[in-house]
Every structure is written in structure tokens, then in C-alpha cells.
């Protein structure tokens, strides 16, 4: 697959200013986004299940350039959502799609290996991952160390692409499984849910990695987390301020979050922030029958106003 991807990238280099792909990071367990501007850089390319980052996050800031970007199925939903909201110039983007069988959560691998430094990691044909540490070698299954989103993935093949590397894959996961965990969580009492979130958000250091990693966070430098006018959140480091920030973050993504999970992957304190966004997305789905990032012709429900909403009868005027 790496070789085929390399060939495809070599083929598009002349059409674009920059290619967004992956290269080896600071250790064997980490790959890192790479911005290739010269054809010789293709030899840096890495493609394996560690390539979890959603590279489309960089597209809005590169609007003026011609960009080729490597996307998995889930990442492609971001591009569709960008198109719905007019955040990119589609003609300036060459989408190199790769059908994906799932990526790796670095945190889950570290958990499985007791946080020992990883000396080497290799990937087998059938989703087995061999991890070597100083304490020995361990075989893990991709299905055990993938982010939760991969376990219920409905779109393993990119929804939009200009080139496809590999054969399309059809999801074998039930559509009902997507929000099963959220529905289960909803069975807890209000007090239990509040206690859960208070405990999680207490760790937040307000570094805003979740916000900056989010491809759909478009307020950018005008984020209410730091503005003095309006002054909705203070600079105090208290639970209520942290809570408020995360609530606003989640609400700004209502019906827009493509559930790529970058917020959660980016969090240095291990806070399950994506859960909140997915809960709101579930509500949006039930209220408006809308799923973000699926059809470029759609408009997010909160971008539109209808006096009569088909699914909200009681509000009928």
C-alpha cells in the first residue's frame, strides 16, 4: 500500500503546492503529519495504522494553495462538511483516498504495554500488531487498540476522492452500533452523568488542544474561551469555567461534528471529550435526521431556519 500511495503522490506532485501526508515521528509508536513540497520528500512517506491524524484539519488554513491530502474514510467526511459550509475551495484540493481497516490509538497501545517505551512495532496482514518493548514482545489486535470510532465505522472508504489507493471496502458494522455507547450512557441518572463529567473535566488544563485539533472549530482567533468581549468565560482555572468551555465547544459543533475524534486524540490529559460531541450529534440526528459530512449538497440544520421543522411538531406555529 505504501508503494502504491507513493506512486499516486508522485503523480499529483506537479499539480499542487504541497502534499499532506505522514512521516515517522519521534519514536516508533508515533507518526507525524508531513507537508511535502519537493518530490524528493516522498521517501519520507509512511503509511500504516499509526496514521490516525485527520490531515484535512489543515485545509482551511491552506485555502490559497493547491493541496493534495491523504484521507481515510472518516477524514473524508471532514472534506464533505467543509464543502457544505464553504470552508475550502474544492478545486484547490486533490483528495487521495485510502480505504481503511482501522487505525491505532497510541494511548491504548501504551495502556496494553504498561506504558513501556516502544522499541519497535510491526503490522501483520490480518490486524495483528507486534509491539516490542525492553520487557519483551507482545502481539495485540488492531480491533483491541483502535479508537472506538473504528469499531463502528460506517465509511471505511472515503466518500469523496480524486484518486483512490486500493480497492473500496464496505463496512460490516451495524449502523445501530454507532451510538450504542452514548445510548447506554444516557441510561445513567443525571447525577451520575454530572459526576462523570465533573471528574473528567477537572483534569482539563485549558490548553485548547481539543479546539485547535478540531477541523470544524472555525471561530479560530475569536474563540470565546479567550475573548474579553464577550466575556463569557473567565481565565480562572475552575471546574465551572472548564465545564463552560467544553459545553460551548460541543454546542458549536452541533450537527457539524464529523466525529473524527481528533479532539479526544489530541487531549494531553486523557479526557473523553468526543463523547459530549457525539451525544449532541445523536440528538441532531434524532431531531433533524441529519448526519454531518455525508453529502456535499446538505446544509447543517443549524445553518438553516424553517418555521416548520419536520421532526419538531410541538414547535409548530
Amino acid at each position: 500500500m505504501s508503494q502504491r500511495l507513493r506512486e499516486v503522490i508522485a503523480g499529483v506532485f506537479s499539480e499542487v503546492d504541497v502534499v499532506l501526508a505522514y512521516q515517522q515521528g519521534f519514536d516508533k509508536l508515533h507518526v507525524t503529519p508531513c507537508f511535502m513540497t519537493m518530490p524528493e520528500e516522498i521517501n519520507k512517506l509512511v503509511w500504516n495504522p499509526l496514521c490516525a491524524h485527520n490531515l484535512t484539519s489543515y485545509l482551511p488554513s491552506l485555502k490559497k494553495k493547491k493541496v493534495a491530502v491523504v484521507v481515510k474514510g472518516c477524514d473524508s467526511r471532514t472534506i464533505v462538511q467543509f464543502m457544505e459550509e464553504g470552508l475550502i475551495n474544492r478545486e484547490n484540493v486533490v483528495i487521495i483516498g485510502i480505504p481503511c481497516n482501522g487505525v491505532i490509538s497510541v494511548n491504548k497501545v501504551l495502556h496494553e504495554t504498561n506504558h513501556e517505551p516502544i522499541e519497535d512495532i510491526t503490522f501483520g496482514e490480518n490486524g495483528e500488531i507486534s509491539v516490542k518493548t525492553l520487557k519483551g514482545e507482545k502481539t495485540l489486535l488492531l480491533s483491541d487498540v483502535c479508537p472506538d470510532k473504528c469499531k463502528t465505522c460506517q465509511y471505511p472508504t472515503p466518500i469523496v476522492y480524486d484518486r483512490l489507493v486500493g480497492d473500496p471496502i464496505t463496512s460490516d458494522k451495524s449502523p445501530d452500533s454507532v451510538y450504542a455507547d452514548i445510548k447506554e450512557f444516557e441510561n445513567k441518572t443525571l447525577e451520575e452523568r454530572l459526576q462523570y463529567w465533573e471528574q473528567e473535566f477537572d483534569r482539563c488544563i485549558r490548553c485548547y488542544a481539543c479546539r485547535n485539533a478540531c477541523p470544524m472549530c472555525i471561530c479560530q482567533d475569536s474563540c470565546i474561551a479567550e475573548t474579553r468581549d464577550p466575556h463569557w468565560i473567565s481565565q480562572r482555572s475552575t471546574l465551572s469555567e472548564k465545564f463552560m468551555f467544553h459545553m460551548i465547544h460541543a454546542l458549536h459543533l452541533a450537527g457539524r461534528c464529523v466525529e473524527c475524534g481528533e479532539c479526544e486524540r489530541a487531549c494531553p490529559m486523557g479526557i473523553p471529550v468526543n463523547k459530549l460531541k457525539r451525544k449532541i450529534n445523536l440528538d441532531m440526528k434524532e431531531l433533524f435526521g441529519y448526519e454531518p459530512g455525508i453529502n456535499p449538497e446538505d446544509k447543517p440544520p443549524l445553518y438553516t431556519f424553517k418555521v416548520d421543522e419536520a421532526t419538531i411538531k410541538e414547535h409548530k406555529i
Binding site: 500500500m1 505504501s2 508503494q3 512521516q23 515517522q24 519521534f26 519514536d27 509508536l29 508515533h30 507518526v31 507525524t32 503529519p33 508531513c34 507537508f35 513540497t37 519537493m38 524528493e40 520528500e41 521517501n43 519520507k44 512517506l45 509512511v46 503509511w47 500504516n48 499509526l50 491524524h53 484539519s57 489543515y58 494511548n107 501504551l110 495502556h111 504498561n114 506504558h115 517505551p117 512495532i121 510491526t122 503490522f123 525492553l134 471528574q199 483534569r203 488544563i205 485549558r206 490548553c207 485548547y208 488542544a209 485547535n212 485539533a213 482567533d221 479567550e226 474579553r228 473567565s234 481565565q235 480562572r236 482555572s237 475552575t238 486524540r265 489530541a266 494531553p268 490529559m269 486523557g270
Partner: protein, 364 residues
Amino acid sequence: MADTGFVQKEKLEEFLRELSKDAVVYAPCLEGDTVIFKTFDPGTTLCLDRPANNPPKLAVFPQSETLFSFKYKKDAEDPRKMSVELEANTDFPRAIIFGARPCDAKGFRIYDRVYMDTNTPDPYYQGRREKTMIATLCCSAPSPGCFCVAVGGGPAHREGSDVLITQFEKGYFIEPVTEKGKTILNAPQIEDGAQYAEEAHKRQLESHDLVRNPFAEDGLPKISRSLFDLDEFWEHVVSKCLSCGACTYLCPTCYCFNITDEQSLDIGERIRSWDGCMFPHFTLEGSGHNPRPTKFKRFKNRVGHKFLYYPEKYNGVIACCGCGRCIRHCPVSVDISEIVSYLRGSRFEFTNEPPESIGTDTNS
């Protein structure tokens, strides 16, 4: 009293509870799968196996602190006039940071030069710092991203520590480094540590060579000014940065702050809170002008502050302790040690290529 002590493993929590009686004890605690430096209390699970995700800087330099509270009052004689009552917040508790790493402790020395060793010391920092004892746990193995030895530290470096702790299978060897640190030996859980001293000192040296040293040839890294001022260099190496503040907030040596008044009606507080040079508003001036308007200029400031400006001001001391948190926990794995490696001398010409090829195909 003996010079050194030893705490049996099973008595550690009891020992910390003892210390908690007359001090706020901060310790690395496990929450889910994350290790967090926070106040220790019964019910928290300690985790000393790996460095905490966040450094213990919050104990001395809290993420947000009230400098003073204020209250506007109408003059009883003349209601058109207002007076302001101020109340400073300078009542600091005794504190013990237990289980800091040598890099964390060294980090406080970076702060000391700025906040205390000047003719205008900061009363808030100084107040907390003087009442805080730092008990440091020597590292027995480096974590991914660690490079303490490359910036003048090491897994058993003593700078900044009041107490040095060496881990044994059965417990912890406790060795005071400063006068302040000696009081820790008063706890009833402490046994005489003399029999462990020799083995402890052997262990302290053991892991030094295991830590990677990306600047080995230089001793301490020397940055080339011409490369440092090359915009193309920064644009290229920093393109993937998300401009979030995780690196600065997790850094044991980052000490920049913001001051805001948080007011409602006639009462309020003046707050000092962490700021980070990665944020766009960091140098935003009142006029609306921002001298560092782009991501790469902000990133250049972070590297420059640690490896150029601070050393220029403080006799070559590097304002980075090599803890590796900014590398380990960066959402996109930006590696400051790699960037500083690029910037060294005129060893190579900048061509978008790393000095040695690190990009290899791990699998297909």
C-alpha cells in the same frame, strides 16, 4: 537523627498522609490511564512508574491565582464618589511536592532566576516557593521524548530538589539535599536509610546513559543565528503545529502569564493565569497590532526563549529541562529537540531535509 531515610513500599501512603497533616502534598496520581500531579488525599491512587502528564509547576505557579480582590464602595457622604477596597492574597500554605522528577525540579530553578533572584522579586511566586519542599524521585528509565542529559540535567540531577528519592523493590531511599529537605526525615514511617545509601548512589548513575542526547556533539546546544532568523526554516518545520498550548502548559519551564480582572457588579478579582506563546493573542497589543501574527513566529519565540534569549540573559543556562512532555503529548508530535538539532551551528545547510534520514517506511 539519621542522615538518610527509608520508607517501606506499603507504608508510602501512610507516610504521605502523615506529611499531609501540616502541608499540602502534591503527588502524581492515576486517573483512568492518565498520571496527574494533584493534591494527594486518601482515595487517590499514586503512580510513580512514569512521569506525570503535567508537571508539578502548579504547586508554585498555579494555573490561575488571585493576586488581590477588589470591591467598589460608594462614599456615604457623597454617593457620586466611589472608593476601592483592595485585599491582597498572600497567605500561602506549606506545600510538599512528592515524586517530582529531576527535570521538574530543575524547572523551578528556571523560574527562580526570573521571579526571585532579581531586585524586584515576585511576592506570590516567592511566597509559595519558600514554603514548598520538593521531594524528587530519580528516574530509573527514560520515557519516550526525554532528553534531560542534553540540556544539562540527568535522571538523578539534584538541582532544585530538597530531597532525592531512589526507588528500590521494597521501598524508597530518602536523601535530603537541602536544610529544608531534612525535616522530611521526622515522619514516624521513616527508618534509617544508611544501609541503602551505597546501592542508591549506584542506581542513580545507572540510567544516565540511557537517555537520548540529540545534541551530544555540542555539549549544550548552540543555535545558529542566521538559521534562527530564516523565515523559510520556521515555516517548514512548524507547518504541522496546531497552535494549541499543550506544549507550553505541560512545560515545567514555561512561566509566561496573563493578568485579567474578573469582575461582576462591584466586586472582582485580579487574576494571574498561565499564558502560552503559541496562542495568537499572546503578544496582541492594545492597538490591535500583533508583532507575532503567525504560527511560525510564535513557535520561533518558544524555541528562542528557551534556547537563545534565556541563555543570553542567564549565563548560558538553557530554559528547557528536557522532560519531553511537549514531544510526548503534542497532538501532532512536533519535536523541539529535532528543531533545535536543525538549528545547531552551520553543520548543515537548510534544505528541508533532516540532518539524518529519520523518514523510513515502517510497513506497507
